[in-house]
Each structure stands twice: as C-alpha cells, then as structure tokens.
C-alpha cells in the first residue's frame, strides 16, 4: 500500500502537462546533465545528444524521439514529473549508447543442440544468428533480457534514476501479470529479475501461474548470469537457455510433428507476441530494443538520411523541422492568467527583413499622416517642457535656481557659470514606460469601410501610423517605449524571408502531422508575440522595420506581390494569418515586461479588432489584474466593441484618423494625468480624461470574472 505522500503521476499531472511541448520543456531542464551522463557512459566527450523525430544511434551522435518520453508520463506510478523527465531520458540514452549488435561471429555450436550437421562457420550478425537458432521467440526473449542487462549494468551508477524506473515498472507489474499468458509472465519475470527490479522470490509469489514459478526457480542461475553477462552474444546464449527452460515447463507452444512451414511461422510469431505483450506492458519501450526491424531502422536511420541528402549539412545536425518547432514551442514562456488558466507564447523579434520596405514605408507614412491629419513634428507639444527634466538627468540648472553645486569649482574652471547653482528636478520627474500592443492577425489587413462607401485595408496601417507617431512622441519625451505585434499563426523567425517562412511552414506542418497527429495544428498555429521595438532598442534602430511594416499594412496587395516576385529577399508577409488571437496572454505578457522596467508610470495600449479566442471574461480579468498592478491599460477597438466589455478604459474607432488620434491622445492624457497625480497641479491635468473614464467611474466596479 502506498503512503499518503506518494501521489501517482497521473493524479498530479494534468493532460496538458503531458503534451509533447510540455514534455520537451521538462526534458530541456535536465538535458545538460543527461548529455554529460551520456558522454560519461559512452566515454565520448564529443557525443552529441539531441532530440529528433526519429530515434537514431551512431558513433558520435544519438537522437531521441520526445514521443518516447511522452509515453512514460501516462504511467500510474508514485513518481514526479521531473523524475520521469530524467529517468526516461537517461533510460533512452543508456540503450542508445549501449546497444550494438553489429559484432559478427560464427554461429555458436551450442545454440543448435538438435542439429547434427556441421554449422556454417561464416561470421553472422547476432540477430541473424538468434533467428536461426530460435526464431522470433528467441529474438524477443533476447531483447527483453538485453534491455534489463543494459539497465542493470549501466544504471548502477545512477541509483536514483534506477529507482524511478523501478517504481514505473513495479506499478505496472500487477496489471501486466494479470493480463499476460504464462510465457509472457515468465519473460516479464526474467526482465524484472535480470534488471534487479524484483527478486525471483517476490516474482514467484506474485506470479499466478504455478508452472511459471517453477520455471523461474530453474532459471535462477541463468538470471544471475544475465545480470553479469559481458556482452550481447553472451546475453543471447542466456536468452536461449531461458527459452529452453520455458519449453521444458510447457510455457512455449509445442510444435506438432506434421506442422507445415506457415504453421511453424505462425506458432513462433504467437510465442513472440506472448513474450512481447508481457514485457512491453511493463518496460519503457525504446525503439532500438523493440524488435529487429526497429533496431535496424534506428541504426540505419542516420545513414538513410545522409544517403538521401548527400553529405551531412548543418540542417542534418540541427534537427528536423518538427522537432525544431516542438523545441521552440517548449522554450516559450508560460503565461499564467488570474483566472488560473495558462498558455504558452512564442516571443521573438519581428523579422528584420521588413526593413527592406522602409523607403516605401516612409513615403506612405508621410502620405497617410497628411491624409489622416496626424502631426509628425513636435508631437509632444505642451508636454515637452513638462518632461524636460527627463532630458537633463534630473538636474535643473541656472543662476539662483537652488543650492551651490558641489562641483562649482570645476564648473568655474570650465566656464560653465550657469551650472554653478543647480538643484534636483521638480518632483514631476518620473520614470515612464509605454507599451503598445497591436493585433497582428490577417483581419487587420482586410479592407474595411471608409466614409464614402469605399473599402480599404486601413486598420493595421492606422495602428502602425499610431505606433510610429507614439514612438516619435516617446522619443521626444525620452519615455521608454516598446511596440509588439501579436497573432496566432505559424511563428516566424527574426531572419525569415518569405521563402524560408513558407518552406519551414510546409515542412514543419507535414512533419508534425506525421509524428504528432492531432497535435500538429496546435504546434504549428501558436500564439506569437513579436517585438517590433523593444524598450532597450533605440528608436533609430527600430524605425526602418516599423516603416516597412507600415508599408506592408498599408499596401498588403503590393507587399504580397513583392514577396511573390522576390521570395528569397522579401520579408515573410505570409506570417499574418487569419486566426483568432488570444489577447489575454499577450496583455499579461506585455504587462509583465512593463513591470520589469521599474517605471513609476506604466501604460499599456492594446489595439484589437475582434474577439479573443479565449473569453472576454478572462481578458477582462487579465486587464483588471494588470490595472491593479499599477499599469494603466487603454483598450482601442477597431470597428469592434469587444474592448468595451474587457477594458475599463476603452475607445472604439471606426475611422483611421480616429484610431490614430485615440492612440496618441490616450497616451498624452495618461501622461498629463500622471503629472497631476505626482504634484503638477495644473488645470489641464484635471481636464484630462482617459476615453470614457468619466462615464465609467459612475458604474459599479466590475468583478475579476467580469
């Protein structure tokens, strides 16, 4: 009976934590140590250990399929997820490092006691020799015993990992014994005894079949020999001995005297199935020891890949697209929402190739600014003198403006008389951070109605113009600023072109459908958070990318044509896919980043054009949580009123000039208010309202659940 503190893995691990990306994320925490263990075990300091969609083993490199680890998490055993992460990886490593049946020897005479004719002396491979000596049953028995021997001999230096494997196996034993037929029970008992997971006495008492217990008694010596066998050929001899014991006790199907060849094959296949069903119900199945075909596939996989593609390139070394994508997803940060839900984001920089469209983008911005009446010079206006303290490193200077500077002697010497008297800045000097989060789904690029009945794709363009203008405003005021796009699609990389993006998307989708089946869509269509301009980046460095992005947004058809014409040089315009966003994850993540800036005044402006894929309640709860943390959140809806339900400060815009104005004026008002709150008591500060705040304040405060 298990103790109360031994929770079963299946009880403590929700299904989403058993998804392949969660399994890989857990593996990555143990990967450096596992690689080091593998190198010690293989006595090869240069051994590469990586994940891939096909298990491979070759000198110098082993590739593990994360699907193998995934199976271990479905066990009902008293182990923790991190223990399984280590044990399953180490288990795989040990077998991939230790399994080598390539040594060729002449057929051993003692393997053929019933044959009087001379035995061929040509060296043969081990599995071929076993097949000749005992057929499929011998091969299955050998692989079970060899599996246990490798674990017993290689895992003795890692008793902790071994005990995890033991717990995983032992938890499965009662069910497996109950279901297995006598030969399966015997094979399973041999596996457990050779591996040292249970002793023969315990197995005899747990085994339901009397003749299985008797066979085990007779096999004691062989089991002990197997534990100390020096190699696979010696293990194979022991496996044949164990089969003889099984035959003696009637565990194997007896051959009839008039058996035809097909009947013999069927009988042997049946015996092999019985062994496999007993052992496989307990052991963690590694492809290299599953069966002869799987062994060959694992050993030859690398050669096949190389043969297909020619010499090894970086691509071969870096892994396949599906594993790369799983790794990418698993490396993304988990975002925890106030409702208790969580999700994973892929955070990366916007593809730098968008800067290629920068010259066209700057012209388009100037034109749009004229058309939509958005000022592009001195945007800060009356705010500038109020933020001048930000420009002067906290000191205001001038005659009679304060105390005598401690550096007055130096200033005198340098002729800087005006700086002799200086004092700390006005108390209005504060640290500000503004984050702009823009919906980057393809719907933002769709044509929308404009006055006069015409339609044009203005949403993203207006948002980008707003971002551009805000960036200018913040740059003028020396306020920290960032712009991020979010969407749900196949995530692009910073160095992607249209061609590389499409190729990678197709390869990844195809590969994931083959290896992950139903999970492929979830793994390819991810929630992405692209940083267009980060807080730490200078505006001049981000300006070309934002200008290029504006052109893509303002002229989506022309951008798509340009991308088709020069797919290898254009930015990945296909990255804007029409799929519902998950706004709440992005809002929470952007707020978290804002929080790390240690700014006293933090502002998050979110532009969205529709429903979140999550729920409006969750989004509202996330926004509330961000507001409670001291960040002002402004929600701007583009032709959609969802923002009114989710954001306490919101505005719905149906025209491009209104959208841009809403963004700029929203931030300006918030900045004015922040100055008023910190002591700058001026009439205009009191007049500033954040959108519908005046009417909102009369309403009852909304609960966290909306």
């Amino acid at each position: 009976m298990r103790s109360r503190d031994e929770a079963l893995l299946t009880e403590i691990l929700p299904p989403e934590e058993r998804a392949v990306e969660a399994v890989v994320a857990r593996y990555q925490r143990v990967a450096p140590a596992v690689t080091r263990f593998a190198r010690s075990l293989a006595d090869d300091d240069a051994l590469r250990v990586r994940l891939g969609s096909r298990t491979q083993a070759e000198p110098g490199e082993i590739v593990m399929d994360p699907g193998v680890f995934q199976a271990a998490y479905a066990r009902r055993a008293p182990v923790t997820p991190s223990e399984v992460a280590l044990a399953s990886a180490l288990h795989e490593v040990i077998h991939l490092v230790a399994t080598n049946f390539e040594e060729r020897r002449p057929l051993p005479r003692e393997w053929f006691p019933d044959i009087d004719d001379p035995i061929p002396e040509d060296p043969v491979a081990l599995l071929d020799a076993l097949d000749k000596a005992g057929g499929p049953a011998a091969e299955a028995m050998f692989l079970a015993v060899e599996d246990a021997r490798q674990e017993a001999q290689n895992l003795d230096v890692y008793p902790g990992a071994r005990s995890v494997l033991g717990d995983l196996y032992r938890a499965a034993v009662p069910g497996a014994i109950g279901r297995a037929r006598p030969m399966g029970q015997f094979a399973l008992c041999c596996f457990l005894a050779v591996g040292g997971y249970q002793d023969v006495d315990t197995l005899q008492s747990s085994s339901t079949e009397r003749h299985v217990a008797a066979a085990l008694e007779e096999a004691r010596v062989l089991i002990d020999d197997a534990r100390h066998a020096s190699g696979p050929w010696e293990t194979a001899a022991i496996a044949l001995g164990l089969l003889s014991v099984a035959r003696l006790h009637g565990l194997l199907t007896e051959a009839s005297a008039r058996e035809t060849r097909p009947e013999t094959d069927a009988r042997q296949e049946e015996d092999r199935n019985r062994i496999d069903e007993g052992v496989d119900a307990v052991r963690m199945i590694t492809p290299i020891l599953r069966d002869a075909e799987s062994y060959d596939a694992t050993k030859r996989a690398t050669q096949a890949v190389v043969a297909e593609r020619g010499a090894k390139s970086d691509v071969d070394q870096a892994g396949d697209p599906s594993t790369d994508q799983i790794l990418r997803v698993s490396e993304g940060p988990d975002v925890y929402l106030p409702t208790g839900q969580s999700g994973r984001l892929i955070v990366s920089e916007i593809p730098e190739r968008f800067a290629r469209f920068a010259p066209d983008g700057r012209d388009a911005i100037a034109e749009a600014a004229r058309r939509w009446q958005v000022a592009q010079r001195h945007i800060s206006g009356e705010l500038y003198p109020l933020f001048v303290a930000n420009q002067r490193r906290g000191l205001r200077s001038g005659y009679d403006a304060g105390d005598l500077s401690p550096y007055s002697a130096l200033f005198l010497g340098a002729g800087l008389f005006e700086r002799m008297f200086e004092r700390r800045s006005l108390p209005t000097r504060r640290a500000y951070a503004v984050s702009l989060l823009v919906d980057g789904s393809a719907s933002m690029l769709q044509p929308r109605p404009l006055p006069g009945g015409v339609k044009a794709p203005w949403a993203m363009a207006a948002a980008t113009l707003g971002a551009w203008t805000l960036a200018r405003l913040c740059d003028e005021l020396q306020v920290e600023f960032e712009v991020a796009l979010f969407n749900r699609a196949f995530a692009s990389r910073v160095d992607d072109t249209e061609r590389s993006y499409i190729d990678r998307l197709n390869a990844t989708r195809g590969s994931l459908r083959r290896t992950q089946g139903g999970a492929a869509d979830r793994l390819t269509r991810t929630v992405n958070h692209y940083l267009v301009k980060s807080f730490d980046q200078r505006w001049v460095a981000a300006e070309p990318t934002l200008a290029g992005l504006f052109w893509t947004a303002a002229k989506p058809t022309e951008a798509a044509t340009a991308a088709r014409r020069d797919a290898t040089g254009s930015p990945p315009v296909s990255m804007f896919e029409k799929a519902a966003n998950v706004d709440e994850l992005n809002v929470s993540h952007a707020a978290e980043r804002l929080g790390t800036r240690h700014s006293q005044v933090r502002m998050l402006v979110v532009l969205a054009d529709g429903m979140t894929r999550g729920s409006v309640e969750t989004l509202a709860a996330s926004v509330d949580a961000v507001e409670h943390s001291g960040t002002t959140v402004l929600g701007i809806g583009i032709g959609d009123a969802t923002v009114e339900a989710a954001y306490s400060r919101s505005q719905v815009c149906a025209r491009p000039e209104a959208l841009t104005r809403a963004m700029i004026e929203g931030v300006r008002s918030a900045l004015r208010k922040s100055i008023a709150l910190s002591g700058g008591d001026t009439w205009w500060a009191h007049q500033s309202l954040l959108y519908d705040e005046g009417t909102r304040s009369e309403r009852t405060p909304r609960s966290m659940n909306g």
């Binding site: 925490r29 143990v30 450096p32 140590a33 596992v34 690689t35 080091r36 263990f37 190198r39 010690s40 300091d45 991190s82 223990e83 280590l86 180490l90 230096v157 890692y158 008793p159 902790g160 990992a161 005990s163 995890v164």
Partner: protein, 330 residues
C-alpha cells in the same frame, strides 16, 4: 630531535619512503614562534597519493642528485585539498608551516620587506628595515606555501626569481643576502587559469612558471571520498557515505566537462563534502530525509542559480531520496 618517518604509497605501486624529520634549532631568535607554527598531523587526513609524491621528491632533493632546488606547485580546482596536502607534509616533516597568500594586492615589499618608520622613544622617529613575509619565513627552517601563485602580478613575482633558481637567495635593499636554507622548502598552490570564475587569477608568467614543478591535483575519486568520510565519521552510515561520494563525483565531473553547455560553475569541494554536509546531517538527523535537507541547506545555497537544474538532476539521478535512518546511528 630527528626522527625517522615512513611514507607509504596508497596505490601500493611504490615502496615505502624513509625520511627524517627536521628540527628547529633552539638558538634561533624566533624559535618559540617558529616551533609554534609546526602543524599537528590531522588524524582524519587521507593521503590520496600526493603526500607520497611529495616525499618522493624530497628524497631526490636530499640525495643531492639535482643542484638546483626543486620547488613544487600544486595546481587544482577549489576544494581538492592542495593546501591540506602541504600542511600535512609540513606536519610529517616537523617543519614550521608558513602559508603566504599572494593576492593581487601583494607587492614585492610585502613579501621581501621594507624600511619603516618607528618611534625612537624620544619624540622622534627612526627608519628601520622590517622583513616581509617571505624573508621572515626564510630565516629558519620552514615549509613556505605561496598559495594562489597566479593571483599576484608578474612584476611582484619577479622579486622571487632569484630565490627560486640556482642563486637560491634574496638580496635585500639593506645589502643583506638571505639564503635559501637547506631546511627550508618552498611550495605553491594555484587554481587552473581557465574560463571558470577564479576571480583575480591570471596566466602564470612563463619565466616564473619555469622555476616550478607543477603537479595537477584532481578531484578525488569515489573510493577516496568514501575513505575520507569513513575515517572522519566512523559512525556515518554506509549508504550516506556512498551517496555523498557519488553526488560529489558526478557534480565534479560536470564541473570539469569541457563543454560549457553541460558544465556547472561550482564544484563540490572537499569542504562541502567533508565538513558542511556532515554538519547538515547532524543538524537535521531527525528530519525525514536528512541528506536531502543538508543538500538543500548546505549545497544548493552555494551554487549559481543557473546551476540549480543541473545539481538537482544529479541529485535525482544519484540519490532521488536520501538514505533512510539517522545518519550517525542511534
């Protein structure tokens, strides 16, 4: 009084080495101070082969085979027991032990000496020569351990060149020459100069390095750690000894890994294994898992945050749960 002492090869390969101890002459002006610096043999010290090796080179020195004195520097990572070896060698030879740390702030005048002002008792001052650390140690029998050899600047160490080569003497600015006595030995210790965080170390000047025999001191092996633990804590349960030794071996193997991606930044030093963890085991003896508690309180707190996953993986692989029962018996 001169006494014979025997050094035995712990590997069993070499024969015993017979040496005699040194004596501190009673007529030395600093006899009392010097005699007080002879270390006591550590009853818990386990020779992993270094003491025998030091005795072997001492035997060569005494044989007069080589005219130039042979100075040995032990190079190894933190917590491998380099200084302890030298201290125990001094204890065996009954030599006063001078451990002089060469930090980056040490200058030649600190080591050799300088003229200082002293009150003359009549309201004035007078300048007098005052020996530095090395000069003071050289004035009688002693084993001088210049620890952290590669922390001092090369220009500081140049002052020692003459002492360490066949000239065997220091010429003081006062005109005095202090010779390297036949009953004085100069040793050194240093950490490897690589990318690891041994702040303040630098590559050893080639000319200075050439005056030393540099021996590597590796981390001890499983059996050696077990022997040390068993000698020091005879009542410590065997499962605890084995698990602690294995944890140390695995962590230190990761520390010495050539690949930065599979490496930890902090090794498990002998101080951690032989002092801190046993202290933790004693403190938390009544805990459900004393070794795990000691690991958390005395090991994980010492490491960089980015090493935590690696250390914890080693824990899971090697121990998973600490051995049962009170560590030091009932």
């Amino acid at each position: 009084m001169v006494e014979p002492i025997t050094f035995v090869d712990p590997t069993g390969r070499g024969g015993p080495i017979e040496l005699t101890t040194f004596t501190v002459a009673k007529d030395l002006p600093d006899h009392d101070q010097r005699a007080g610096k002879i270390p006591e043999p550590d009853p818990h010290y386990v020779d992993l082969g270094m003491l025998y090796k030091l005795a072997a080179i001492e035997e060569v020195r005494r044989s007069g085979l080589v005219e130039t004195p042979l100075h040995v520097a032990l190079r190894g990572h933190m917590g491998t027991g380099k200084d302890h070896d030298l201290e125990q060698f001094a204890a065996m030879l009954r030599l006063p032990y001078y451990r002089i740390p060469l930090t980056g702030e040490v200058r030649d005048i600190t080591l050799i000496g300088s003229v200082k002002l002293f009150g003359d008792g009549r309201g004035g001052t007078e300048s007098r020569w005052q020996d530095g650390d090395i000069t003071r140690a050289l004035r009688g029998p002693g084993l001088i351990n210049l620890s952290e050899l590669n922390a001092a600047g090369a220009e500081t160490l140049f002052a020692l060149h003459a002492l360490l080569d066949r000239y065997r003497a220091l010429d003081l600015p006062t005109g005095e020459t202090v010779h390297l006595r036949d009953d004085t030995r100069v040793f050194g210790t240093l950490n490897p100069t690589d990318l690891r965080d041994y702040a303040g170390t630098q590559t050893l000047n080639k000319a200075f390095a050439d005056r030393w025999i540099i021996w590597e001191k590796a981390f001890p092996e499983v059996g050696q750690i077990e022997a040390m633990l068993t000698r020091r804590y005879p009542k410590l349960g065997a499962p605890f000894v084995t698990t602690m030794a294995r944890l140390a071996i695995e962590v230190n193997e990761s520390f010495t890994s050539a690949d930065a991606r599979t490496r930890v930044g902090t090794p498990m030093s002998l101080r951690t294994i032989l002092d801190r963890i046993p202290a933790g085991l004693r403190m938390y003896a009544a805990d459900a898992d004393p070794l795990r508690r000691a690991w958390e309180e005395f090991v994980l707190t010492h490491i960089d945050p980015f090493d935590t996953d690696h250390y914890e993986t080693v824990w899971s692989a090697v121990a998973r749960r600490g051995p049962e029962g009170p560590p030091f018996g009932k």
